[in-house]
């Protein structure tokens, strides 16, 4: 238990304070905006974390705890706790805003080099976790003995899991998450050597890794027409392995882990990305915390990894048909199936998937509903996702244009052009469905700024082509008393374009001003919920310092567990 600087606030109180601070500020004595706002970099490496230990969480416990218990605190409509005053996620040890990446940078992803050329791999250890066959090895010519994990495709689905890993890693990196370097390698059996002290675990016990183990492994993985094996080489992340991070609570031994994970926006909103990519394996077990930094200055870097079970891949074959549609344990459909003697046809049983493209697995956009998508089992952060979280995620996803998607898919080097075409088309269709769902879920005002005395903003849904450009905007200007949190409304107007003239006369001698924007659109009555934008007068003019999104009917937001 940590001692308190401001007193022993309960998390509930803290969360309530943080989430409601914008509203409460009207009565609060403290200024709402500080000179440093908006904060672009969260300080979460301020205290040495060298004493941290590995989280022992395993597969069984993660499944049981999240399926039969309800870890974490429910959001109950509250906003994410780690957003800045612009409703954005600052850079941190969890997330880095990478919206300015070039196409080449996106495709390259986290890789340190364009390709990995290894003439001889030395196997040092068998792989004792996960379903994907593989082992750990080093480059015989590398004096640093950098360890890689090599994983292969299932024998019935060449290129399936490795392709998913390559695509998933590049996308997650571009989205802003920390991921490990991965490379596609083609290797021959002759290029594999077993280290004399190599071991493998069977049934929890280590024993020597033998040629028979290698032969058995290679016999059960996909082989290319030229006789070589295609593998994914994952470079072990820098630092000390601390095990996974959880999607709820905080690490009790990490002094810098301050925001309960179920209230972190990048974890809540990961539900949107997972739905897009059908990343059902998005659970604690497929995350990785690494202790990095010099002694006395240690901190934790949080990674996402293991993307082999996404898109249409189930790692050891095509993904299971219910994935994305149901949790592994669902009460109601189970009872319906049982009592109907199996005559009840669950919706996922009617999904059309490409059976003939083995490298694509069962990846499809048929019957894909982004809001209804589910991971393998409940994820407390996903369950807490709010409309603003989803909107944030959808905006992160919007830059994945067909050109970007095609370039990323090309990195997977599918040998069958039909697979590439299917993956590109399906990713695009699913992306469009995600954007249509989440960009329109709330008033989609974005990028508000004042330029030369004129207010400019965008409508993210219209700009993405998911709503007709027939919106009108009601602008209500106010000046803002930052010290007392009071808004005093002045002139208002209705405009047909996303811009308006700032009534400078009303703001003379004011440091803070703002505008409340309501969008009138025949197809989206929920857009009338106000978006409040706050500006601060600086030497160069008005700077945007705050965005507050309100929901028209927050009680109607039910995403389900």
């Amino acid at each position: 238990m940590r001692s308190s600087i401001i007193g022993r606030l309960s998390l509930t109180l803290a969360a309530a304070l943080a989430a409601a601070h914008v509203v409460a500020a009207q009565q609060a004595a403290a200024p709402r905006f500080s000179p440093q706002d908006p904060i672009l970099r969260a300080v979460d490496r301020g205290v040495d974390a060298g004493a941290i230990s590995r989280d022992p969480l395993g597969n069984y416990a993660d499944f049981v705890l999240n399926t039969f218990f309800s870890p974490g605190e429910k959001a109950d409509g509250r906003a994410a706790l780690n957003v800045n005053t612009l409703d954005e996620v600052p850079d941190s040890s969890w997330f880095t805003n990478r919206s300015a990446m070039s196409l080449d940078e996106i495709v390259r992803g986290p890789a340190r080099s364009a390709r990995l050329d290894v003439r001889e791999w030395v196997i040092i250890e068998g792989k004792d976790s996960g379903k994907q066959p593989g082992f750990r090895a080093i480059d015989a010519a590398d004096p640093s003995r950098q360890v890689y994990q090599l994983e292969f495709d299932p024998i019935g689905n060449p290129e399936l899991a490795t392709g998913a890993e390559i695509i998933g890693t590049a996308i997650y990196h571009a989205l802003g998450y920390n991921v490990v370097d991965v490379y596609l390698v083609d290797l021959e059996k002759a290029s594999l050597r077993i280290a004399p002290d190599a071991t493998i675990k069977t049934n929890g016990r280590a024993r020597p890794f033998t040629q028979h183990d290698l032969r058995a492994l290679l016999r059960n993985v996909a082989r290319q027409p030229d006789g070589r094996y295609r593998a994914l080489a994952s470079r072990f992340a820098e630092g000390k392995n601390l095990g996974p991070f959880r999607y709820s609570g905080i690490r009790p031994d990490d002094p810098n882990d301050l925001v309960p994970h179920e209230h972190r926006r990048e974890l809540r909103a990961n539900r949107v990305f997972c739905a897009w990519l059908n990343h059902d394996d998005s659970r604690a077990i497929n995350t990785l915390d690494m202790l990095v930094g010099a002694p006395g200055h240690h901190s934790v870097r949080h990674h996402m990894f293991d993307f082999g079970s996404m898109l249409g891949s189930g790692t050891d074959g095509s993904d299971l048909p219910w994935v994305g549609h149901e949790y592994v344990m669902e009460g109601q459909p189970a009872v319906q199936s049982l009592l109907s003697l199996g005559l009840y046809r669950r919706p996922f049983m009617s999904v059309k998937a490409p059976h003939s493209l083995r490298a694509a697995g069962n990846f499809t956009a048929d019957r894909f509903e982004p809001a209804a998508w589910k991971p393998h089992y409940p994820n407390p952060a996903f369950s807490n996702m709010q409309p603003a979280d989803a909107f944030w995620a959808a905006r992160k996803l919007a830059p994945f244009t067909p050109e970007v998607i095609a370039a990323i898919v090309a990195k997977a080097r599918y040998s069958d052009r039909r697979v590439s075409d299917h993956m590109i088309a399906t990713l695009q269709r699913r992306r469009d469905q995600v954007l249509r769902t989440w960009l329109t879920a709330i008033n989609p005002i974005a990028e508000p700024r004042i330029v030369d005395g004129e207010l400019h903003f965008t409508n993210a849904a219209i700009d993405a082509g998911h709503a007709s450009a027939t919106a009108r905007y009601e602008l209500s200007w106010f000046h803002y008393d930052n010290s007392r949190g009071l808004r005093s409304f002045g002139p208002s107007e209705i405009v047909a374009m996303p811009r308006g003239v700032v009534p400078e006369a009303a703001f003379t001698a004011r440091d803070y001003a703002g505008v409340e924007i309501r969008t009138r659109h025949a197809d989206f009555p929920n857009w009338q919920a106000a978006v409040r934008v706050y500006f601060r007068r600086e030497a160069a003019g008005w700077t945007t310092v705050g965005i507050e999104r309100t929901a028209r009917d927050a009680s109607a937001w039910r995403l389900g567990r």
Binding site: H21, R41, V47, A61, R219, S248, D253, W322
Partner: protein, 390 residues
């Protein structure tokens, strides 16, 4: 699950969310000594989590079905009808650099059956295409059930007998492709029976030299919980009595199993046929204890173990299954079978049959536990097993 107070955390998280703390939260990424007020604590998983982590780390569930190397525990039946058996076990899977595997175990069942066995396997000959095994076992079945011969036997005539069997067996298996296996082997079996009440049955004590040849085509998608594909197995065995017991015979066994599925493999129809035909040498007879039987947990589940026996046997089974959850599969089944002294008497018009329902628990890869409730036999039967029905 409730969250605990996190005083300093709460203050610090507000550093991002509120301007009051922002001033202290930005401006440096340099690590600084922890304030005295900050205290952290080590992970303290809940009891259920500690238990599950230990279960996983030690691979205890896996080891129930695939024992680990070294000393362990053997759990399971000695033979169908033995009841739960437990005993010590030892195995080593990488002797001589992995070329040789060895195993040994002993078990005692709740019905007082007991067994001691040991063997070695050379699994990686000819680049893993050929497997050779040699084993020895001594089995004492204390109370084998006997209801008489033929399909008209009456349950009320139940008696028991004891059976001692000592065997030294060798086999060679060739698997040229993944879906085909051809096997052959030699064995010496010494059998002794005791306490046989019925003086009419042929029950000599004898020593057999057994030769066998078998072929198996298996293209099931997941052999331990199949959803598609089939398995076709045929075996020919010759049991030559080494003494003057006049008990030599040969036997042909065939097992056909086909799995058909629909609705994303969530609905499953399994059809199975088992046929066993025996023929004694001229002037010889087949001992009753070497005859295959119906009844028990696999063939005619509505009848008790070993309920029907004779020289020839045929069983047809159909099972419809549907997934309730990925871990639970419900089934309805019907099966019919008969035994006869002569092949020509194996008439499907005069079969014994049963039907029932059941549940299969496990993963998509394997059935770990099954229950069946069978009706239509001599009585309603409830079956629990740590394996699939096929």
């Amino acid at each position: 699950m409730t969250l605990r107070p996190i005083g300093w955390c709460a203050a610090a998280l507000l550093s991002v969310a509120t301007p009051a703390r922002a001033q202290t939260a930005i401006g440096t990424d340099q690590a600084t000594p922890p304030p005295a007020a900050i205290q952290t604590s080590a992970f303290k998983p809940r009891r259920v989590e500690r238990f599950l982590n230990a279960l996983e780390k030690r691979a205890l569930v896996t080891r129930l079905f695939t024992p680990a190397d070294g000393l362990g525990v053997r759990i399971g039946g000695i033979t169908d009808g033995s009841g739960l058996a437990v005993g010590p076990a030892w195995r080593h899977s990488y002797l001589a650099g992995g070329h040789v595997q060895a195993h040994a175990s002993a078990a005692l069942s709740i019905r007082q059956d007991r067994e001691v066995e040991a063997g070695i396997v050379l699994p990686h000959l000819a680049a893993d295409l050929v497997r050779v095994s040699v084993s020895a076992s001594a089995t004492r079945l204390a109370q084998e059930d006997f209801y008489g011969l033929g399909r008209e036997s009456i349950q009320a005539n139940w008696t028991t007998f004891g059976l001692d069997r000592r065997a030294i067996e060798s086999a060679i298996t060739v698997a040229p492709v993944r879906w085909l296996e051809v096997a052959g082997g030699l064995a010496t079996l010494r059998t002794t029976v005791a306490d046989v009440v019925d003086p009419q049955v042929f029950a000599p004590a004898t020593t057999y030299r057994r030769t066998h040849a078998a072929a198996t085509i298996d293209y099931r998608d997941r052999p331990r919980n199949p959803r598609s594909g089939g398995r076709y197995h045929v075996a020919l065995q010759r049991f030559a009595a080494a003494d003057d017991a006049r008990a030599s015979f040969k036997r042909l066994d065939a097992e056909l199993e086909q799995h058909l599925s629909a609705w994303k493999k969530q609905r499953l129809l399994t059809l199975s046929a088992v046929v066993s035909l025996s023929e004694a040498d001229a002037g010889h007879d087949m001992p009753f204890y070497m005859q295959r039987t119906l009844g028990g947990s696999r063939l005619l589940r509505g009848f008790v173990h070993d309920r029907f026996r004779d020289r020839n046997l045929v069983v047809l089974q159909g099972e419809y299954g549907w997934d309730v959850t990925p871990f639970i599969n419900a089934v309805l089944f019907y099966e019919a079978g008969t035994v006869a002294a002569q092949v020509r008497d194996l008439s499907l018009a005069r079969v014994r049959d049963d039907y029932g329902l059941g549940f299969r628990l496990g993963s998509t890869g394997a059935v770990a536990f099954r229950t069946d409730l069978a009706f239509g036999g001599d009585s309603t039967r409830f079956i629990m097993r740590l394996s699939h029905a096929f």
